[in-house]
Amino acid sequence: MLALLKDVIQRRELLGILVGRNLKIRYKNSALGFFWSLLVPLFMIVIYAVFLHVMRFTTNLPMLVVGIITWQFMSMCLGDSLHAVVGNANLITKSAFPRIMLPLSTVLANFVNFLLSGFVLVVYLLVVRADFAHVAWLPLVMLTHLALATGIALLFSTANVFFRDTEHVVSMLLLAWFFLTPVIYSDAMVLDNTGFPPSLKALFFVNPMTGIITSYRMALMGWANPGWPYLLLSLVASLAVLLAGALLFQRCQDRFGDEL
């Protein structure tokens, strides 16, 4: 565990170069380049806004925008992590370097993208005069989000080395997770629904993304409910995922060279 951390700190230059490589490659040869990381969520927002409107759901555009942009970071990390190790087989089999740099660099490259789209998000929220009363919590929310994304990336980048079925499982898993997380709806819709038993509501908040997205809305839109304990719950769950991911990765990384 400590060895992994030491590797990361000692070889941060490699991490920086890999992050830069990931960003460059993603938009190489595309005319719109970085704007795609804005256009994709924008299209999703438009589609869901129209869908929710047509289906006569009560919705709120800033809430939808915050939800989709923050969800996008998670879904991109998960998707990219599948190829973080497998897609760099030639590096792994031909050179020795801390393998953890590969999933870590895909997460950080997506994080850079997320920060850029987050900047556009903040401009939008200023335009619609959102309430930034609780913005001081934002760093902790982002840290929780980053920890969860890293943990997930470590788990799935490792799993895909040994089981290529992971890719198919992930596309289904992402879809289910998307609807189980308050991305296009609010946590209140679940909490206030008297039809759900309390145990089911508790389960809803075990999903760390519930607390994370709700906390983003608290920090960026001044929402007061359901309160910060949910963020702490998410933080604990995210750190647990991160720990599990790091342990799995450390156990399996020596075998990457033979499997690829």
């Binding site: 070889r11 230059e13 490699l14 170069i17 890999l18 490589r21 460059k24 490659i25 190489k28 040869n29 760099n88 030639n90 590096l91 792994i92 089999t93 031909k94 050179s95 020795a96 370097f97 040994f162 089981f163 290529r164 079925d165 020596d254 075998r255 060279g257 033979d258």
Partner: protein
């Protein structure tokens, strides 16, 4: 003697070969539910390999394809863990397991150089200092800011080699890279490796180019089937390897058939002094003991032999009948002696065949074609069997 910088102790490497390429959930589940289903085959790429390399030494590694050479280098480069045993290296290691491995086609030459440096753990500051000499060595200044996917394969490998040698490692691992690039670049690589040697760096080199590896190595390690079958002076080990290859070649060409009343059970080749050998100089006497076994009493058998090139073309054949050596009868085991020479063969590999048949040529008892390879060494590289020549004019 200085301290060893590479120590390999009892290293073995096992690969598990599964029925189908990648493991899937289905196969994992089936393996759990039905142990014993489609047993995973094991393959030992290296078995109990031990050796040490001193600082400043150049060790050549030779062996047939699949002997474990590349696996050995990948263990030393630490891209795979050994299954058992211990490897220790002192100092920085740069590996050329594949030229330009890890280059990304969409990145420019410049970006790839810094990426490769970072992968090897060279600080950016130092890479920036060496950048000019890397570009100069690769000889592609005008293309350095182009994506490497537009490079010719020669430019690609030149840049890969340049990065690996210019990072100035203490130990350089090179896997069969002399085979790529044009003659000029190969010359440049050899010069660079010579310069490395003079600066007291340690190198491990895999190559199938035996002449080159013999000339640049201090010692040579011979691997066969994952085991060390030789480690020592280059000339000696290369000769031993060539003998192994000859035996294998002959094995592939070898044919035997016959009715079996008499069988040729073996042939021992010796020199004039009675020493067993399969290498002869021009003009040497080749002595052969032909061992046979007759299941029943056979009268007037005829023993014959022939000499063929390594391609199987017969250049000389003769037998006891033609030479008037009458054998009244044979029964049980026995040995026939043949003195051949002084021979007049040119340098190269030749395949000897032996046969035994009836006096009227109707029954072929046993025939072993191309079963016994010999190597002829000589400084006059004429072809075939020598005949006196005299040139006149013009």
């Amino acid at each position: 003697m200085s301290e060893p910088v590479i120590q390999v102790e009892n290293v073995s490497k096992r690969f598990r070969l599964r029925g189908m390429g990648t493991r899937t959930f289905k196969s994992a589940a089936l393996d759990l539910l039905l142990p014993g289903r489609a047993p995973t085959r094991e393959f030992w790429a290296l078995r109990e390999v031990s050796f040490a390399v001193q600082a400043g030494e150049t060790l050549g590694i030779i062996g047939a394809n699949g002997a474990g050479k590349s696996t050995l280098l990948s263990l030393l480069a630490r891209t795979r863990p050994p299954t058992s045993g211990r490897l220790a290296t002192t100092g920085t290691v740069s590996s050329l397991l594949e030229l330009g491995a890890g280059f990304h086609p969409d990145l420019t030459g410049r970006e790839n150089v810094f990426l490769a440096g970072a992968v090897m753990g060279i600080p950016r500051r130092i890479m920036a200092e060496r950048f000019a000499s890397i570009v100069a060595f690769a000889g592609i200044p005008e293309f350095i800011d182009q994506p490497v996917k537009h490079y010719s394969s020669g430019m690609y490998v030149r840049l890969g080699f340049a990065v690996a040698v210019e990072v100035n490692p203490d130990i350089l691992l090179i896997d069969e890279v002399l085979a790529v690039g044009d003659i000029a670049f190969q010359r440049k690589c050899l010069d660079k490796m010579e310069e490395f040697r003079q600066r007291g760096k340690t190198m491990l080199i895999i190559s199938h180019d035996l002449a080159t590896i013999q000339s640049i190595s201090d010692r040579i390690l011979l691997l066969d089937g994952g085991r060390v079958t030789g480690l020592g002076r280059p000339g000696e080990i290369v000769d031993r390897y060539k003998a192994v290859v000859r035996a294998q070649q002959a094995g592939a060409m070898r044919r035997e058939w016959g009715s079996g009343e008499i069988r040729i059970t073996g042939v021992d080749l010796r020199d004039r002094t009675g020493q067993a050998r399969d290498r002869f100089a021009y003009g040497d006497l080749i002595e052969a003991d032909v061992h046979y076994e007759a299941r029943q009493r056979i009268e007037n058998p005829v023993f014959g032999f022939s000499v063929a090139t390594d391609g199987g073309m017969r250049i000389y054949g003769n037998n006891t009948q033609i030479e008037g050596h009458r054998i009244p009868e044979v029964e049980g085991r026995g040995t026939l002696h043949l003195s051949l020479g002084p021979h007049t063969l040119g340098p190269g590999t030749y395949l000897l065949s032996f046969s035994v048949h009836s006096a009227d040529h109707r029954v072929n008892y046993h025939r072993v074609d191309h079963g016994f390879p010999i190597l002829v060494e000589g400084d006059r590289p004429f072809e075939g069997s020598y005949m006196p020549v005299q040139w006149r004019g013009p």
